[in-house]
Symmetry: C2
Subunit: 323 residues, 2 copies
Amino acid sequence: LKDSEYKIGIDIGGTNTSLGLVDTNGRCVKKMDFSTSANKNIEEFISKLVASIHEICMIDAHEVQPVGIGIAAPAAQYRAGLIQNPANLLWGTINIADLLKRQVDLPITVINDSNAVALGELKYGLARGMKNFVAITLGTGLGAGVVVNGELVNGANGFAGELGHIIVEPNGRKCGCKRRGCVETYVSATGVCRTAFELMANELDPSKLRGWTYSNLTAKAVYDLAVEGDTLARKTFEITGEIFGKMLASTAVSFDPEAIILSGGLVHAGEFLLKPTLKSFNENVIGSLRGKVAIFPSQFSDSEAAILGASSMIDIAEAVSTE
Amino acid sequence: LKDSEYKIGIDIGGTNTSLGLVDTNGRCVKKMDFSTSANKNIEEFISKLVASIHEICMIDAHEVQPVGIGIAAPAAQYRAGLIQNPANLLWGTINIADLLKRQVDLPITVINDSNAVALGELKYGLARGMKNFVAITLGTGLGAGVVVNGELVNGANGFAGELGHIIVEPNGRKCGCKRRGCVETYVSATGVCRTAFELMANELDPSKLRGWTYSNLTAKAVYDLAVEGDTLARKTFEITGEIFGKMLASTAVSFDPEAIILSGGLVHAGEFLLKPTLKSFNENVIGSLRGKVAIFPSQFSDSEAAILGASSMIDIAEAVSTE
């Protein structure tokens, strides 16, 4: 391959930052990651990122020159290149594109992480050829990217598709966005932990969950207990799926998508989450759409869709820069 | 004006059918309507419709020949020309385009009424120049048409934007769609009546509402009592607005629209509905969109937006017929 046939995709997450060297066929030929949270100040982070960019370009003792870098990050604004004070990054509002350009002489484009996932699915994943679909990422929160008429939905201010903040329970749980009842307070890794605590309060079943503090409990721990057969842990996922299925029923009437593709850490809960979700969706979807919306997990491993989607933005970014 | 510069727009509603003769500037130069529900069989309805089409084309004792007819109807399917067994029409599933073509030799196109309203606002109304907006019609139910990236959102099966069936109350009121908690069971003319009955049950305030049967109560009657100062009638609109504002907050994060334009009979309740709606929206919209979504009533009188939007489909229909 010639150098000009590579792009770099980067997914900056709250825990890890992943980089991928992507070829023209949308294959991630080399991948690496490092801890985001270990770099508490932005200068440290940028230094680590620049070193990683050089490292990922080394192939057979030769440094390839990719055509550009696409960055996916939470709360990223496409046109401005900003990462705007996201809840789970520590640096406040930064202009990641500007900061990186000082040290790397390549075109750089920035995209919201949920939109990057949707683009990755659209261009290289299970949504290829689809005109209308929704990609939902279940991590610390619930992120979503929406494609309508073949195009990513950004909205007037770049905040369209923030489906994690659909209100599903009037006067429900307090959300990081300062409101109450947002779906991500129920359907996300943190939502699972909150539901486990609500169940412990409401029910009397014995459960190993009762030995956990709120500060230490993780969705993975709830999953492990569900695998062991713990009643409350299993019920936690059933309730999560029930709420998720109802929310997806509302998503279905909003966008009438061909598919809803699920990714993110919580999807690793597999059937414990998927089965009650599909049951609730089928019970709650409007009759005219019953059987018409496919709901399934992504084929990509963690961060791969975001890396591919971000890297695919590079040509678009060049078009934008000449606008 | 030459004949070729006129189009006909028709809005078939559960109560009335309205026709408009529309000029190239999108002005409705002549308008008429007749009772839909008085025509219980479809043959009667088509005869009445054909007579009305001839009548509306008579200008200065000369019958103009318009370039085509656009029809807006509930549950209408654009590609098929069908009106598919809508809840508030009596004829079951009919192919209105085929039925009318037997008697009128003009191109005919059919569009969902909520989408017609959105198109009317986009081409000739307050949404001119907007790339992203939502048009909501509050009648017997809650209908919506959504424009994203400058295009109407139809979805994979033509059911996108059915926002009346967003679930806002888990295990809430039974909906005509057979599910529970859909927003239109709260925010619509019938929703207002249901809320009035719930309030009569929950509260002890004296109210003239207590003299009405459920079968006879109308949103107009609740409005008239609100004007008189009836406490429960006013509270009915406050609750309706509170739920509507929360739903619009979810609409805002879904589509990030520049504007949400309101029309339909219930909007005649004016400030009784709008004030609590805007208050609730501002309290519940996500911080990043606060102050960025304009919410206001349409400038069009009843059915005018649908007539204009339906008539504007005619050129598109010709393009489609040559696909």
